[in-house]
Amino acid sequence: MNTLRLQNVSKTYKNGVKALDDVSIEINSGMFGLLGPNGAGKSTLMRTISTLQQPDSGEIHLDDIDILNQKMELRKVLGYLPQSFGVYPKLSAEKLLHYFAELKGLSNKAERKKIVDYALEITNLYDVRTKHVAGYSGGMKQRFGIAQLLLNDPKLIIVDEPTAGLDPAERHRFLNVLREIGTNHIVILSTHIVDDVKELCTDMAILNGGKLLCHKKPIDAVLDLEDKIWGHTIDRDDLEKYETNFKLISTNYNQDNSLNIRVYGDVQPGEEFIKVQPDLSDVYFVHLKADETEAINSQS
């Protein structure tokens, strides 16, 4: 059982953006979903944990490794897949993986070959292992990213928005691989796609504007909203009215241009509303909405 502990981690960029605002969290083995909109600070947090970036203040520990001061120790047990990456041109997946394996300290040649082959196998890249990675499609490249991350059998795996741009089949496959790894390790998955978390995370948090808004198991978070989400179908011209009168958390169009709206409320907001089954998206939007309202209030 591993534990990653962040205590009061803050980071402000030169341009004044507060990317991390006093983040404290404890993450245990299993899949951890970090949800948040674009620009929420997810990548900054991921990079900070991955030793690529130094926070202004705070502490991060993985078990007894003090990450900010024992970078090398962490790197030995870290697997990291950045949001976007390239590779050296004109090199095959196999060669590159061997290169990474060496960088990761795999010293025995035969064992190195075994693990590289295995990584190629499970990421379904074995057939194209001699092809240049630079020529891979988006999905293949992401899988290559996973393959390189596995090589050192990491205890802590950090994947930053890995499913963005993948087609459904690729995404599915990718998440499966992650799920498998996640059983014994800490896997932190950042995403702005709620479904990613819904499908495989055992724990999650929502990050917005550098602040942690909610840290709960997805099931608990959904459970919390039981009896608090109300749905209704309205005419699109009435939207403004509903927006001002209710805590509107999401809308989506039907084919006839009518709108399904979902509203948050401890009690039934109106007769026309019916109780609906809450889902993770509701959790996400409820928290963002609350945070936004708070931010606006504190500004005014």
Partner: protein, 1224 residues
């Protein structure tokens, strides 16, 4: 639309700090450069003086040219960036879909970037201007401000070059979307420019170089090569001839490039790519199904210890090296290096068109400097690329989070860079050996190559490799890193100008020695290695800093980087750094202590002050009458193994004056090098002992009466040689020392500051470089010695057993004593007080001319030209003794000495030391008419000195070298002509003319007529040979030689007052017919030049089958002032004027005899040597500027010419002949 984009672009440039950073840096650079040329640093270093102004059009053009090399490198980040930023920030996807026209987009982009470049150039000009008026600069070095001096270089060169280079970068970046490739294209252009420059080494290539130099610099150099100091100071840059062609050519290329961009550019999203091979297209289907149930990674052991990472470093170095070798930055650089090295090695260092044998020393010398120079540049580049390799592939985040240590990663790159560097050296070695084989030369001396490349050159490059790692570790952008490294390199070269002279303060410098086949590297090698250890210790520190500052991860503030540095600084690293610093500082302080405390060291500035003080304090001594040396006996012991010497001397001094002499000024050797004691056999005491200037004044108790002699004895030995200091000039093999190390007498006026501007600064009265020959008080000394006339000479030299020691005189006895060998030489005639000692392991070649023994002492492998030298010596002895006077000795010896002492030959009495680098390894091509047999001509010149110096010696006044150097040149030319015919003469004289005319612009004070020359080489050698050869042509060889002979007769071996050029010229005048008197005036007494030119030449066939040639030629003659200003008026203020449609031509009044010639088809003569077919050649009396000649010849005429053999001094010798065409 255009103006909108343009304005937007310019505005955005003006908002970026880079515009101001560039402008600021370039401004400062220009300011420092100009102010430094203006003497701003005079308070730290030697006084800056120059006969030319620093702010004339050509001077400003030079400065701009230098600074702009940097600006060219910045172009990619301005012109290139203006187009590439749209790609980089993915703006193009949006922008290209807007309705903008291609023309307005491209022109606006290009012109806006160019405008920014212009702004930077304006700042540079401002810097130059402010530098020229900066408080503290010397206003004498500047002329009045003239805006044209700035505008002209800008309009002719700077701006067109920026447009051209900009167009190239723009084109390359537009298509490749990669600034870096734009950067490489600039490098390639700069290399082409450098290549054009190397081409100019051969006179015949100058016009080609003038065309292909993209910067136009070679065109300018070509058009202004014969500019005088006056021209430089007063003329604007010419816009004519090759400058026009060059500018048109490259403007056309710029337009073509831009047109190409314009037509090829499309607003689409794909960069245009050039594909060499088409790939076969393949349909690819992804497997969309199949899933994964379980992940169970196989066990793999991991190692994080030192050994693993070391192994990985070596393994990955192969990976990195492959990247370098496949990278076309390397490939293009390597190809250029191969090409240039090959050309240089094939040509080597020709003298008078004759090359050398490809001895390994010559190959190594040539390859070494070239390859190391290129290598530092490519190392700067490649290190940057390697350090940023992951980053530019956007793979850095993947790599950075792996647990490899920085040192392993950097070590891999370091080894890869070493492999690249080694490959350059191995390539150079292969090329060199190839050239040797091609020349049928099989003594390869591989160890010499390997040692020089890897044990000397590489160690210098190493310092810069490490520096490159540090710079690129600290600086994120590798182009900025590269330019910073270059700037640092150049800044360092300016350190001495700022007064930082000692090597320990100048990164990577210090120590060095030339290699000689005879003497090896000498003691300088040890010093070199001490400095290498010193810099290596620092290199370790810098390299570790590079490791510690290596950037991993993203966005670091300076503070965080320092924090990161502290975190990385392990105790091991800290202790290595500390230890290296201790070594570095230790050796540094030791060297400093040695050079500054143990041995007094004077900066250039301090030395200048010392000279001033010496003159102020002691100039009165010049008036002191001194006794003169009449006899010299030297006992010299040379110890080649320990490089020590011991000497004992006995001089007889005689009071040759008519007054009693009570004290003697004795100049001694530098007391830091020698221990020296002396004594007179006459009572007296040392009344002054100046150890700063190393001289004593000894006062006799009783004055030395007129005619009285005194014996002076001295004993000296060098102080022990140390690691850092050699105290004696003795070499392990090839010692060459002359009498300057022994005591001399009298005030040393040659130690005074010579430059009048510097003298003025220190409040010293102006001083002529040499005194006038008309000053009868100045004729007491020869120009060789000022404390003796003719002396008796005898010496005994000892050396190690395997060496032969030689000095002037005849060998009396030779014996061995233990492991020492002794030689006793004695001269039976009086000689000049000018003698030398040589000792080496020699081979001896002996021959005889009449009863004169000829010997050549040479280094065994250098046996190529011994017979040529001996042949020349025989022919010379024969010609000179027949035409001038008998040879005064019965022996003539030629001794080879190491090139460490220089590349020259020198004539002592019956002894001619001759450098290994001149003549001994020359590869004479007897088939080639254009190349001079210089082992032959140099030997003839040195043998001639046995007459012209050792029989006739001029007083130490202006024109003295006419009587030695010019005469010897003339004499040797005659021998050469006898041996090889008139044709070799032409290539010799053509070279002499070119050298004379080219050197005039570098005159540091004033050009003087031949008979008044102040030991100026371009006058007494080059002009001297032209003038005397022409004179003999006009008078006839026999007549000329009889004048010389009677002159020798009159003045040979004379006692003071010594003869002068005036005496010779008077004799010449007496024997010159009235019609030719003007020649003496033109050639000896004044600086006179011609501008002769054929305008038109036609022929028609006459009825009798003969050919009538009619041709028109202009003859112009003018005099030049000492600064090079032209004068057309004679003493009576008259001149000739010819008004033509185009121009007004002026000339001195003419009554000159000038050769007119008509030439036919060239004959294929015997020996396969082409001989010119002269149909007509006669001297005509010319009295007008415009002349028409009608000449009937028997054969078909091909060429006609005025002064066709360039016997007269003419700045354009190419237009003296013209092809003859049929009359229409």
């Amino acid at each position: 639309m255009f103006s909108k984009i343009y304005k937007f672009e310019v505005k955005s440039w003006l908002k970026t700090p880079i515009t101001y950073i560039y402008s600021g840096i370039m401004f400062l650079f220009a300011l420092i450069l100009m102010a430094s040329a203006g003497g701003i640093f005079d308070s730290f270093t030697v006084t800056t003086t120059s006969p030319t102004y620093q702010n004339t059009a050509s001077a400003i053009n030079d400065i701009l040219g230098g600074i702009n090399v940097f600006l060219y490198f910045l172009l990619p980040s301005i012109v290139g960036a203006s187009i590439s930023k749209d790609f980089k920030y993915e703006m193009h996807q949006v922008l290209y879909s807007y309705p903008i026209s291609k023309a307005s987009y491209l022109f606006a982009k290009f012109l806006s970037a160019l405008s920014i470049v212009l702004i930077i150039i304006l700042f540079i000009c401002l810097g130059i201007y402010l530098g020229s008026v900066f408080p503290g600069t010397n206003p004498d070095l500047f002329t009045d401000f003239n805006i044209w001096n700035y505008l002209q270089p800008l309009l002719l060169f700077v701006i067109p070059n920026m447009i051209f280079f900009g167009a190239v970068v723009f084109a390359v970046v537009t298509f490749s979307r990669n600034i870096f490739i734009g950067f490489i294209s600039i490098l390639v252009l700069i290399i082409i420019q450098g290549f054009a420059q190397t081409l100019t080494a051969d006179i015949d290539n100058k016009t080609l170089a003038a065309l292909i130099d993209p910067l136009g610099a070679q065109a300018l150099a070509f058009e202004t090569e014969y500019w005088t100091v006056f021209d430089r100071n007063t003329s604007y840059l010419p816009f004519e001839g090759y400058i026009v062609y060059n500018r048109i050519l490259w403007a056309a290329i710029s337009i073509l490039i831009f047109a190409f961009v314009f037509f090829k550019f499309k607003f689409n999203q794909q960069a245009i790519q050039l594909r060499l091979f088409k790939r076969k297209a393949e349909r690819v289907i992804k497997r969309n199904f199949g899933s994964l149930i379980r992940v169970k990674l196989p066990e793999a052991s991991k190692a994080y210890h030192f050994k693993h990472w070391l192994k990985i470093a070596f393994k990955h170095s192969r990976f990195e090296a492959r990247y370098i070798f496949k990278n076309w930055v390397f490939i293009s650089f390597a190809s250029v290096t191969i090409l240039i090295t090959l050309i240089t090695l094939a040509v080597r260092t020709p003298i008078y068109g004759t090359s050398t044998h490809p001895v390994t020393r010559e190959m190594v010398d040539n390859a070494s400097s070239l390859v190391s120079g290129f290598m530092i540049i490519i190392t700067f580049l490649i290190v940057g690329m390697l350090m940023n390799r992951a980053k530019s592939a956007n793979m850095n985040q993947l790599v950075d989070v792996t647990p490899f240590p920085n040192w392993s990663f950097l070590l891999a790159k370091f080894i890869a860079v070493f492999k690249m560097q080694a490959s350059f050296y191995i390539l150079a070695l292969i090329l060199a050996v190839g050239v040797q084989i091609y020349n049928d030369y099989y003594t390869f001396e591989l160890e010499l190559y390997v040692f020089r490349f890897f044990a000397i050159d590489y160690l210098r490059v190493l310092s810069w490799t490490v520096m490159a790692f540090l710079f690129h570790s600290l600086i994120k952008n590798h182009i900025v890193g590269f330019v910073s490294l270059l700037a640092f390199l150049i800044l360092l070269s300016f350190f001495p100008q700022f007064g930082i002279e000692q090597s320990i303060f100048r990164y990577g410098s210090g120590g060095g020695s030339t290699y000689s086949d005879m003497a090896g590297y000498g003691p300088g090698l040890k010093v070199f290695y001490i400095y290498r250890i010193y810099w290596f210790a620092l290199a370790i520190v810098l390299y570790l800093l590079a490791i510690l500052f290596y950037r991993r991860g993203v966005s670091y503030s300076a503070k965080q980087r320092i924090e990161r540095f502290k975190n990385n600084l392990s105790p091991l690293f800290a202790s290595i750094i500390a230890m290296s610093l201790v070594i570095f500082l230790g050796i540094g302080s030791w060297i400093y202590y040695n050079d500054n405390v143990l041995n007094e060291r004077y900066s250039g500035k301090e030395r200048e002050q010392l000279q001033v003080d010496f003159e102020k304090q002691y100039a009165y001594l010049e008036q002191l009458e001194q006794p003169r040396i009449t006899s010299v006996k030297i006992y010299l012991d040379l110890f080649p193994e320990t490089r020590d010497l011991k000497a004992k001397g006995v001089f007889i001094l005689k009071n040759k004056t008519s007054v009693p002499i009570d004290s003697v000024v004795i100049s001694l050797s530098d007391d830091k090098d020698y221990k020296e004691i002396y004594a007179f056999d006459k009572k007296g005491e040392t009344v002054l002992k100046d150890s700063l200037y190393d001289f004593d004044i000894f006062k006799f108790d009783k004055s030395l009466n007129p005619g009285e002699e005194v014996k002076f004895t001295f004993d000296m030995e060098n102080k022990p040689n140390t690691l850092l200091n050699s105290r004696s000039p003795v070499r392990t093999n090839g010692t060459f020392i002359n009498n300057q190390i022994f005591p001399s007498f009298g005030y040393r006026s040659e130690y005074e500051i010579q430059n009048n501007k510097t003298r003025e600064k220190y409040g010293l009265a102006p001083k002529e470089r040499m005194k006038s020959p008309l000053d009868s008080t100045a004729l007491g000394n020869t120009y060789i010695s000022d404390d003796a006339d003719w002396i008796d000479f005898e010496t005994t030299i000892s050396t190690s057993k395997n060496q032969i020691a030689i000095a002037p005189g005849y060998l009396q006895k030779e014996w061995e004593d233990g492991d020492r060998k002794y030689f006793h030489y004695k001269m039976d005639k009086k000689i000049l007080n000018f003698y030398a000692f040589n000792s080496a392991e020699y081979e001896v070649f002996e021959d005889k001319w009449k009863d004169v023994d000829i010997q050549v002492f040479y280094h065994k492998p250098h046996d190529y030209n011994i017979e040529r030298m001996v042949n020349s010596a025989k022919k010379s002895l024969a010609y000179y003794s027949e035409n001038f006077s008998p040879y005064q000795f019965n022996q003539l010896r030629i001794l080879e000495f190491p090139l460490t002492s220089g590349t020259f030959a020198q004539s002592f009495a019956n002894t001619v030391p001759y450098s290994e680098a001149i003549g001994f390894i020359a590869k004479v091509d007897d088939e080639d008419n254009e190349s001079v047999d210089y082992p032959f001509s140099v030997t003839a010149h040195e043998v001639a000195h046995q007459w012209w110096a050792h029989q006739v010696i001029g007083a130490n006044v202006r024109g003295a070298t006419l009587l030695s150097e010019s005469m010897s040149e003339y004499s040797s030319l005659k021998v050469l002509e006898k041996e090889y015919g008139a044709k070799q003469m032409r290539s010799f004289l053509k070279d002499a003319l070119d050298k004379y005319l080219r050197s005039r612009r570098f005159e540091s004070q004033k050009e003087l007529p031949l008979m008044f020359n102040e030991n100026q080489q371009y006058i007494h050698y080059n002009k001297g040979s032209l003038v005397l050869y022409a004179m003999s042509d006009y008078l006839g060889e026999e007549k000329m030689n009889s004048i010389l002979s009677s002159y020798i007769d009159r003045v040979a071996f004379q006692e003071p007052p010594y003869t002068t050029s005036v005496e010779f010229v008077n004799l010449l005048k007496e024997n010159t017919p009235d019609s030719l008197q003007y020649l003496v005036k033109d050639m000896f007494e004044t600086i006179t030049l011609y501008d002769n030119k054929v305008n038109k030449a036609t022929y028609k066939v006459l009825e009798n089958g003969k050919y009538e040639v009619t041709f028109q030629a202009n003859v112009l003659k003018y005099r030049s002032t000492e600064k090079g200003e032209k004068e057309y008026k004679d003493a009576r203020g008259e001149s000739l004027v010819l008004e033509t449609e185009k121009e007004e031509l002026t000339s001195l009044p003419l009554k000159d005899y000038i050769e007119v010639g008509v030439f036919g088809e060239t004959d294929e003569s015997i020996d396969g040597i082409q001989k010119e077919n002269v149909l007509y050649l006669n001297k005509h009396l010319i009295s007008d500027i415009a002349n028409e000649f009608t000449i009937v010849v028997d054969e078909l005429p091909v060429e006609a010419g005025i002064d066709p053999y360039n016997k007269l001094i003419d700045t354009n010798s190419g237009d003296n002949r013209m092809e003859v065409k049929v009359e229409e």
